[in-house]
């Protein structure tokens, strides 16, 4: 029931994740952050089996930092997504695979373009303008299809996100305690008031 949502607009990518941390029928925490920053211009949001999620995200985070330290440059968002996909695809062939689905928001400083990648635990990887994991996708896809434009500004993107969150609050059976919104742009990763 976790919500993770991403929208890529003209010069940044917006990521929204639900703040409720649930276990079974209880909400244990209402200020959860389901994202990890992988580099200066890349952010990964995740959902899935609790335990696997944070373990996997921090494993990726550590490897990205290691790469940056060793090679003195950061992977492009496309390369980052490809690396994460490879980790998930090879994990799927192990005894106990990571059950983690992720979104990767990035800003390629070479091409000056934002990006958003959708990856699931099977190792599926697609670059998309907007996407979500889990049930949230069923509720928001139609709104995003209807209102999305590739040339939207950050503010227009946030307005569209507001529309999506309203719908989720209205239709989702559980109170997900609002969303934490982060924006990945030329200036790096920033938390946005929402």
């Amino acid at each position: 029931m976790d919500i993770i949502l991403g929208i890529r607009v003209q010069d940044c990518t917006i990521i929204a994740t639900s703040k409720a941390f649930t276990r079974g029928i209880s909400i244990l925490n209402s200020t959860d952050d389901k994202t990890r920053q992988l580099g200066e211009h890349s952010l990964m949001a995740f959902t899935g089996e609790s335990g696997d999620t944070v373990q996997f995200a921090e494993y990726i985070q550590a490897n990205m930092q290691l790469h940056a330290m060793r090679e003195s440059y950061e992977l492009s968002p496309k390369a980052t997504a490809s690396f994460v996909r490879n980790q998930l695809a090879s994990s799927l062939r192990s005894r106990k695979p990571y059950q983690v689905n992720v979104l990767i928001a990035g800003f390629d400083t070479k091409t000056e373009k934002p990006s958003l990648n959708w990856l699931d635990y099977l190792g599926t990887n697609v670059e998309l303008p907007y996407c979500a994991h889990g049930y949230a996708a069923f509720y928001t896809s139609s709104l995003l299809d209807r209102h999305y434009r590739a040339d939207m500004t950050q503010q227009e993107g946030l307005d569209l996100l507001q529309l999506c969150v309203k719908e989720l609050q209205l239709r989702m059976p559980m109170d997900f305690k609002g969303v934490l919104v982060k924006v990945v742009s030329n200036e790096g990763v920033k938390i946005v008031d929402f």
Partner: protein
């Protein structure tokens, strides 16, 4: 949940014409009933040989990257690009290597041999059994429909322009009867010295 081959959906088809071949695929990538992407191409160009991959999207990506690696290494060793017939055997042995834990894919290969100028197409099952066909090869979630369309529409020795119409109509009408395929289509018409790539106008439902 059912067959891994039909989680993501997608279809591909290849046909032989007069001194030409055509290979086409749809563009949908879904998660069960939910359509995710309408830009997921399933045909990959490896030199002058073309590979269509349908099935589990994860394995489609994994295998397309594996074959990109293998054909690039081949190109460096041999100082030429791989011929379609040779590539077909590469696909077969790569898949059979995983006989007891297969990739969930249905590959098809199309191309024109650069030496003999002969058109070549073939298909595979998920463990690498090659299906050499003289006419057409189908694959994917709409394969049943494609068999029907191709069996009815196909005729031998079509010129490139006519082959394009035949393969396009076969694919389009097949995927329109498959919930998991569609959302755009791409066709490659390959002649001995030229490749034409066309993106088709399709239904979006």
């Amino acid at each position: 949940m059912s067959d891994p081959n039909s989680i993501n959906g997608g279809s591909a088809v290849a046909m032989v014409g007069k001194d030409c071949v055509a290979i086409a695929c749809d563009l949908r990538l879904g998660n069960q009933s939910l359509g995710l992407a309408n830009n997921f191409e399933k045909v990959f160009q490896l030199g002058h040989t073309f590979l269509g991959l349908t099935g589990l999207a994860s394995d489609v990506t994994t295998l397309s990257e594996t074959f990109r690696l293998k054909t690039n290494l081949y190109k460096m060793r041999e100082e030429r690009t791989i011929e379609p017939e040779t590539f077909a055997n590469l696909v077969s042995s790569t898949l059979y290597e995983k006989r007891f834990g297969p990739y969930f894919v249905g590959p098809i290969v199309a191309g024109i041999n650069s030496q003999t100028k002969k058109p070549f197409i073939c298909g595979f099952d998920l463990i690498g059994c090659i299906d050499f066909a003289k006419d057409f090869i189908v694959s994917g979630t709409a394969s049943d429909q494609l068999y029907g369309m191709c069996e009815a529409l196909y005729e031998p020795n079509l010129e490139p322009e006519d082959l394009f119409e035949t393969i396009s109509q076969a694919l389009l009408n097949a995927v329109d009867r498959d919930a998991l395929s569609g959302w755009g289509a791409v066709v490659y018409i390959v002649t001995k010295d030229q490749v034409v790539r066309k993106v088709l106008r399709t239904r979006q439902d």
